[in-house]
Symmetry: D2
Subunit: 443 residues, 4 copies
Amino acid sequence: MAHHAVTPHEGKLLVLTPGLGAVATTFVAGVEMVRQGAGQPFGSLSQMQTIRLGARSENRTPLIRDFCDIAPLGDLEFGAWDVHAADAYDAALHAGVIDKHELAPMESFLRTVKPMEAAFDQQYVRRLDGPNVKPEGTKKEWAEALRADIRRRLDETGAARAVMVWCGSTEVYLRPAPCHETVEAFEKGLEDDDPAISPSQLYAYAAIMEGVPYANGAPNLSADVPALEQLAEEKGVPLAGKDFKTGQTLMKTILAPGMKARMLGVNGWFSTNILGNRDGEILDDADSFRAKEVTKTGVLDSILQPDVYPDLYEDLYHKVRINYYPPRGDEKEGWDNIDIFGWLGYKMQIKVDFLCRDSILAAPIVLDLALFLDLAARAGRSGVQEWLSFYFKSPHVEVGHVPEHDLFIQHVRLKNTLRVMMGEEPLTHLSENDEIYENADAS
Amino acid sequence: MAHHAVTPHEGKLLVLTPGLGAVATTFVAGVEMVRQGAGQPFGSLSQMQTIRLGARSENRTPLIRDFCDIAPLGDLEFGAWDVHAADAYDAALHAGVIDKHELAPMESFLRTVKPMEAAFDQQYVRRLDGPNVKPEGTKKEWAEALRADIRRRLDETGAARAVMVWCGSTEVYLRPAPCHETVEAFEKGLEDDDPAISPSQLYAYAAIMEGVPYANGAPNLSADVPALEQLAEEKGVPLAGKDFKTGQTLMKTILAPGMKARMLGVNGWFSTNILGNRDGEILDDADSFRAKEVTKTGVLDSILQPDVYPDLYEDLYHKVRINYYPPRGDEKEGWDNIDIFGWLGYKMQIKVDFLCRDSILAAPIVLDLALFLDLAARAGRSGVQEWLSFYFKSPHVEVGHVPEHDLFIQHVRLKNTLRVMMGEEPLTHLSENDEIYENADAS
Amino acid sequence: MAHHAVTPHEGKLLVLTPGLGAVATTFVAGVEMVRQGAGQPFGSLSQMQTIRLGARSENRTPLIRDFCDIAPLGDLEFGAWDVHAADAYDAALHAGVIDKHELAPMESFLRTVKPMEAAFDQQYVRRLDGPNVKPEGTKKEWAEALRADIRRRLDETGAARAVMVWCGSTEVYLRPAPCHETVEAFEKGLEDDDPAISPSQLYAYAAIMEGVPYANGAPNLSADVPALEQLAEEKGVPLAGKDFKTGQTLMKTILAPGMKARMLGVNGWFSTNILGNRDGEILDDADSFRAKEVTKTGVLDSILQPDVYPDLYEDLYHKVRINYYPPRGDEKEGWDNIDIFGWLGYKMQIKVDFLCRDSILAAPIVLDLALFLDLAARAGRSGVQEWLSFYFKSPHVEVGHVPEHDLFIQHVRLKNTLRVMMGEEPLTHLSENDEIYENADAS
Amino acid sequence: MAHHAVTPHEGKLLVLTPGLGAVATTFVAGVEMVRQGAGQPFGSLSQMQTIRLGARSENRTPLIRDFCDIAPLGDLEFGAWDVHAADAYDAALHAGVIDKHELAPMESFLRTVKPMEAAFDQQYVRRLDGPNVKPEGTKKEWAEALRADIRRRLDETGAARAVMVWCGSTEVYLRPAPCHETVEAFEKGLEDDDPAISPSQLYAYAAIMEGVPYANGAPNLSADVPALEQLAEEKGVPLAGKDFKTGQTLMKTILAPGMKARMLGVNGWFSTNILGNRDGEILDDADSFRAKEVTKTGVLDSILQPDVYPDLYEDLYHKVRINYYPPRGDEKEGWDNIDIFGWLGYKMQIKVDFLCRDSILAAPIVLDLALFLDLAARAGRSGVQEWLSFYFKSPHVEVGHVPEHDLFIQHVRLKNTLRVMMGEEPLTHLSENDEIYENADAS
């Protein structure tokens, strides 16, 4: 449990986002609004949550941002890639998440974030297209171009360090292939233009090669292959993924632990989503949905443990549907029907209708991941950062590890890791007089 | 953390319920159905949940019922009081919770549970009345009559020990009065027929005096007064309360911790219930509802900590409504609308419709409380058992303690207390490699 | 079926609203936005609906506004009374219904609508108060002051005619009293300051005396008393009421006829509302709610005819709740649970969640009523206009008539009355070859 | 408007159902329960609804069953075909719609209804199979075998007349083909085994050839082709279809007319269903769903008339999803989200959750159709009976006619046709004093 000293933050931090759509612009514009005092970063643990340190009697409960040596918002610089050439202001207007009257005062700043040419190939994202793409070339050439982009943007902004958070679209479902097994095989694949290597893997590769921590907000395979994990270890780069936990899955990972705690059986869980943004349009394509479906359906099994509780959860019929529905734009709606049973098998039902906003839920995750990955890098951590599972639908874990989906366990783990990273004791003292439980912040 | 040795269970355990309505009959009939192999005790931790012991490598995860020295279902005997003279079979038929065709094979057994005369006074439960009540007398006389009832029922059943779980109606809202301050004042109040002493307090008093652990499933003040807490300590009797956490509040204590973990603000929470059983009819009376309302509304403040997070939770408008609605009988429906906000203050909504069954959710709680209180007594524990907060809307805590409402923290506490009580280590090892988190059962 | 010739509209039409809150400002600002081409009058039959004339073969289906001689929007002038002195611009901003950025271009116009002093007495509207009220005086004096207000506003605006639509608050529930029986008794009551005469009755009286048609958008008794009906007949003034049919009741009058058409039984209908505007605050007062409750609960009996269909509807348990819930402002939410049964008595449930906007639904009703009442007056119609029941929760009908609540029947009636008023045949030809049914517009 | 005299009912009426699954057994068992006094035929107009005759002053409002010369329930006999050999008792038990304890007293009767061998070919209903099928043969041979079945069952039961109501599965979507154009082409197609002729068309053909009225409860093309319409005219046989209007579509045809009456715009309507019966399993096949989807999506266009009201309804995005979800069995749940807008374009939402029971809603439709088609035949009516549109999702109309989907217009039409058929005047008198509107039964 010895901890590495954390190299203090110094200089600016560049946050790079492949994708400059609804999520990325909501993140960038929001950070600027917070800096200008025009909004608050609700939803962000790094900015708003407290953390208890030591014994209760010590009465130390600082904000996480005061406790951890994370970069202050004032230090953030931004860079992005997108198939559309619209700058962050126009892209934010188009996304329609933040009210145009609130965006107006941010215009001059947002105009400075102009997307670099995307490494894009439509066979991986069927229903998307745009003109702002890199000229044809091999995957190797594209990867090198991305590395050059990173260095150039560091130069332009004068930033000392960078992190990359994938805010782009969901790619079609890809299975791990031989070229994903080792660094060598991967680099050969780049040269051979192996179709098993998707664009998001080029970004991940470029980031790692440049020593830039990488987080993956989509269900794409991306860095979740042995080759890139190994490369990240070698280069000392932290990784996190996959798929931001924003709407219905967030709700699922809140409710399912509750059902299990009370030993209520579940024999059916039907989840349907309607959403009208670019994400929705892409997921209307069956192959793209397949990738999403995989990340969405493992959640319940992992939480409910049907192997341990067969009578309660073995027969659970779980179905997830995503429907493109333009009238709503970014205002996603998730409807869940849960069929449960209790004492003697008597049936009950829970229906949850979540009128959420995809990008509003995702933006603070981008912020937290950027700041925590940068911290992790300065703390000398590399490879898969399982303690960031809290933010993901489909936690990227090391080979052989079982992902943890229970939001409450993920939360304990996140905060204890921060404690340890900063040289504090994790909360361990569960005495019989239960003192720590009296403060919900214990978690 | 030294633990008392637990006196082994031996002989039968008598479970006494003031009230033989929907909850109590569903409990009694259900236990018998489980004993006859005609049903499973879903919803009961004591019967179905596992508990991890020691380091993960030890691979010890027994069922709680195999780990703790709790009484086996075969040892249970039953006794009850009710204002109606109907035996448990007729009362269960009337309640309509368990299907009459499933009840039929239990008839001969259920006929043996005939309610004793209730200590009942309509000024405390306005919309209830019935003929099976004790003759007029002072509160002192009624308390003595209840003690005699307990002893007689122990004789009749040949049981070695007893526990009492209040399954009766909600009494009108009463504030603590001087007679509740000390044992002496309370006993004087009994003699003087002090109106501040309600019938449920007579039952609690009688139980404690007979060395019988007492749990309170309604929001009644009951044992939650210094006089009875002190008496319980003196007599070495464990107590638990108040108000079974069954429907909407259960859902609230699952959802609110999730909102807080993610730093999502909440500015409105509207909860309405429709229910058509006897409970609903009584709560249609404003004074009775007042008691319920108090136990229901504290929950959010305690979980969300508006003092720590004023920007997120200070303006929360919380409203709870209960509506008597006969068409549904025991099939309560709880509808919640939750107004939340995220990044930059953008608004979202969550609607939850819970088609639940009051008595189906309550019956396994009665069972767990009976078995765990009996275990606690044999472990030498007395007074308020805060570790049973998991089961209650309004946890009865010692003077000066803040109740914990977060279901997930309550759950950790319950299981660690069981570990300690049985001489095992509580789960304490939160190492940086996070091994325990890989198993959701860690909680 | 002979029709009076309609006196052509000429000159401006002044629309007077007691109340300049959310509904009235949404109406006034909306009319101006439509006139400026900045919005469309969705929800208004007079502006948007077509009407079929003659046999289908004639192929005549004009817009109602082209068919009937109603005043064009360009002719409308506005006047109002309110206890707050804020002009229509400030009041609209405060109401928060129309986005402030959409209101801005209307500012100069809206500033011209300044509320006259209200005839206000807090004993009739408990939770409302404000400084812009008439000086103390007898009810007779207030009534005369209101008449003078009407004349002055006609002068100021140069309007040729006026109509008045009550857009004020719900008054406490009042039963008809002797002073409501005859014109003489009513006028004596004015002089004697009879407490049975509420302020809304002063407005109604003033309107009728000035020859101004009057519609009542609240459940207040107002003009629904023999004295004022008789006075309206004498003065040749049309009346309509009561209580705009906007949210949950609108939904009820759509759904209930559907259930009945299919002979589906209903044994429970629970309706709850949450709303946070001034209306909600006032209805949180039990006496004010009483008036609303009466207008809301008669609806189902009238539609479902439990006397004719006792097996289907006799046991219907109907409960309506209104809850003040500030987080939502004007964005009312109505939640209905409907317990129905079909073949052999098997049960089903319908849940409807209506996220509506009170003032958005009410504003086009104000417009239609103003235009249709003005038309009716010019057509020589006086007294209660039952054909406008379509717009009301609690249709004001002549003594001895049974109100019709079925929205679809109300709709047929409205349009046939327009046909007749304009000298066309009502749709009567239901031939066996059913030709008219092929066009939904037949209704 | 001259009406044919109705030949009086005499002798028994045989109701034949292709399909002996949930719908058919619920119908057959329900009729028997009603005959035995063990249930009521809720949901059936023919049994429970009244009908007003003549002027209101005549005060004549009999039950439809007393007014029309329909066959009494006591006269009904039953016959069925199914791929499973289970008799009506076993099939009803398997369907699980009617409680087994309620079915028990009907056992001996239900055992007498044994399914005849089905004319079945899996290429038309992919996810269904069973052993009780006719031996291989040409379509011509199967059609002849079905005709023989009809005659034999008439003999067995001693019935004087028969009607056939398709209660079988949804077939894959088929487009009209040349063989559907004329009787000659169709009969040649039978001989040639034309793949464009589906099994349900064999049943329809057999029925018509035997002079048996035919109604189609599924979206199958079936009798909705010129060849069979023409044959029905020739043989004097009435037809009706398609697809019983039971759950979500029923709700849609109730709500949409309400939106339109009030000129509320609709820009999105998302409908999803979960159901776990055989029907759900079959519709999980994309081709089968296609047939259903076509019948479900035309509804809104027809009611809302986007051509007449482009600003209100032209942009309506309508999506319908059906999901196989076994946990519920026959208890279908339909969830609708409706995005509407009002005054100035401000948005509102309606969510409807219908916990319905497919077969409970369908069974009374089978009964009504059987009785009304038999009546129509005795009244000398032949060909497509558009007046029965009330019962169908996708009304079968004559070539060139536009189907009417508005439930309320369909209802008026149904009752006026009954009036005319029985020699009464249709309700035509819409006088200015509106007398008929005072009685909701006018419709």
